[in-house]
């Protein structure tokens, strides 16, 4: 069988004494869609930060398409084809929606093509009407879409989504799930989410993080049934 798209080996991140991520061995096949779940502080975001070069792992390695990127610069990793949509939308608030998308599209496309991609993308995220508005003036949900648009416009092979449905209305959640499935036709994704309905809508395989390590990895049905998971996670949610 072919080598996995993404692979981590004993990936660990320590802050002083705190072991935020410990010895995570994780593999993702090309074109796969994987969900990460786990309580807050389980290390999911730190894990993402290491995959995208925002943090340098304390030890262990990250391999993307068979290449070690553990110590690569964030922009190098982006150019290799990993895009990330962060939990709090990270966009260019001072620029218009169109300019935001254009900035990312023009990284890979020449002017003329970039323009076409931008128009396309504006339609796709449903903000064509607001193209000239400053992103800083948009609602939270809309800024989520803008960031998604930015990420897609660089056409990465692997997209990391950190709580894409957070703070969305039910309709928006449905649309997002729809979009995620659509994206998955051409790209691999790792999605961090708490919203189980959302996960049900999109995921087959789910990886559960707990206390910086991988607890279990299984398909969604088994995960739902898994008592361990219930205790540390769903239990908490039920209690909450």
């Amino acid at each position: 069988m072919e080598a996995p798209l993404l692979e981590t080996r004993d990936l660990s991140m320590h802050f002083g004494g705190v072991k935020a991520v410990r010895n995570v061995n994780f593999t993702l096949a090309a074109g796969e869609l994987r969900c990460l779940i786990g309580p807050n502080g389980a290390g999911k975001s730190t894990f993402f930060k290491m995959l995208t070069g925002q943090l340098q792992p304390t030890h262990g390695a990250v391999l993307f398409r068979g290449r070690d990127i553990s110590h690569a610069q964030a922009h190098e990793i982006a150019r290799l084809g990993i895009g990330i949509k962060t939990q709090v939308p990270s966009v260019f608030d001072g620029l218009s929606v169109r300019e935001n998308i254009w900035l990312s599209a023009s990284r890979i496309h020449p002017r003329g093509r970039a323009r076409a991609v931008v128009d396309e993308m504006l339609e796709r995220i449903g903000l064509a009407g607001a193209a000239q508005r400053l992103v800083g003036q948009l609602a939270h949900g809309q800024r989520q879409w803008v960031e998604l648009g930015i990420v897609l416009a660089t056409d990465p092979q692997l997209i990391l989504l950190d709580e894409p449905a957070a703070g969305m209305t039910h309709e928006e959640v449905l649309r997002t799930a729809e979009l995620v499935r659509e994206i998955n036709r051409s790209k691999a994704l790792i999605v961090v989410e708490h919203d189980m309905q959302f996960i049900r809508m999109i995921a087959k395989q789910v990886t559960v993080f707990n206390q910086g390590g991988v607890l279990v990895e299984d398909n969604i049905e088994n995960i739902m049934r898994n008592p361990l998971v219930r205790d540390i996670y769903l239990g908490k949610q039920a209690a909450a």
């Binding site: 925002q54 982006a78 895009g83 001072g94 300019e99 023009s106 990284r107 002017r111 931008v118």
Partner: protein
């Protein structure tokens, strides 16, 4: 009236006023006014250099005067040694740029930013000041050019038409040259900012991490911006050395550095025309306050008003409290508030993205 139309109108207006000043001043104003305007034009170029580096690049450089001074000294020293001004002129641009490239590499690839960057650049100017300031002794000279320490280098030969060292450019010529270069710089920067490069540096200013995650290397773009800014500052320095045919270490001083920042803040960050206006306005003001002192006699008010630092200081304070955004963006807001509700303040006079063009 959409953004692009407004930008076009703005460009045309600037062009018209610029050309009017360029061609009409020497005809209608007396020589003194022309000379005074010359130095304002030169300083405006300096203001533009920081407008790019800080206003658009988001790099708070507290040491822009370092490159300004280097340009002036480079020109002076090269001029005394060569006599023909073409090479000195180019060196005055190249040397500060090269210096900025080194310093910038040290800073940006060392991931030094915001206030720390400010301190490092400030410190560098102070080092230059202290070093140059202590070169009064006869042993300090480069070729035939004595560095002169605190007293600086007087009697610097003026520029000449390339190739012919005897065809020196006269005072009016200097006005035409400085004003033309200022206009060229302004429109050049407008082009640069409308280009892909310009977009990206603004993007990096807006959200460096995001730009990085999109695959842009902020360090490289900042370094480039920093270097271009330094080249412009050096150019201004060269012209300044020409205007007064004199340069001294105070050009590196803290006052000079802070002044440039103030021009930009007063005029408005994220605009190009703003810093030009801020620069000329403040320069004129301090000259005006200094002129015709009433000494001894005269009312206490006259005495108070002739107290340059007092008045200038009061004005700056009032300014930051009442017009915090700076002149141009504020005026822009008022103007655009009439045209449409949404305000694109941050990149007020940068042309819109090159989408839907060609």
């Amino acid at each position: 009236m959409n953004a692009r139309a407004r930008n076009l109108a703005g460009l045309v207006l600037v062009a018209i006023i610029g050309l009017a000043v360029l061609f009409l001043t020497p005809r209608l104003a007396d020589l003194d006014t022309v000379l005074e305007l010359t130095v304002y034009m030169v300083m405006a170029i300096l203001a533009l250099s920081l407008a790019l580096v800080w206003g658009y690049g988001g790099i708070l450089c507290f040491g822009q005067s370092a490159f300004f001074g280097l340009g002036a000294y480079t020109y002076a020293i090269a001029m005394f040694n060569m006599g023909e001004s073409t090479l000195p002129f180019l060196l005055a641009i190249a040397l500060p740029a090269a210096f900025a490239a080194l310093l910038g590499y040290f800073i940006f690839y060392g991931r030094i930013s915001d206030v720390y960057l400010g301190v490092i650049t400030l410190t560098v100017t102070l080092i230059l000041f202290n070093s140059v300031n202590s070169t009064a002794g006869p042993e300090f000279h480069i070729g035939v050019a004595k560095l002169g320490g605190f007293n600086g280098i007087p009697g610097i030969p003026s520029l000449n038409f390339p190739g012919d060292k005897n065809a020196t450019i006269d005072l009016e010529g200097m006005f035409y040259l400085s004003t033309a270069i200022l206009l060229a710089t302004y429109f050049g920067l407008r082009l640069l900012l409308a280009s892909r490069f310009g977009r990206i540096i603004v993007g990096i200013r807006e959200n460096e991490r995001r730009a990085e995650l999109l695959g842009y290397d902020p360090r490289a773009y900042k370094l480039a911006t920093f270097t271009i800014g330094a080249a412009l500052a050096g150019l201004a320095g060269c012209l300044f050395a020409n205007w007064g045919s004199f340069v001294s270490p105070t050009i590196f001083g803290l006052a000079q550095s802070a002044q440039i920042i103030i021009w930009v803040i007063v005029g408005g960050r994220g605009t190009l025309i703003g810093p030009i206006i801020g620069c000329i306005g403040i320069q004129w003001l301090s000259a005006f306050l200094g002129a015709n002192q009433s000494t001894g006699s005269g009312s206490p008010w006259a005495a108070l008003l002739s107290n340059a630092p007092l008045v200038l200081g009061a004005i700056l304070i009032a300014f930051v409290l009442l017009v915090p955004k700076g002149l141009v963006p504020t005026l822009g807001d008022w103007g655009q508030a009439l045209l449409r509700p949404r305000v694109r303040e941050r990149i007020a006079d940068a042309a819109p993205m090159p989408v839907g063009e060609e």
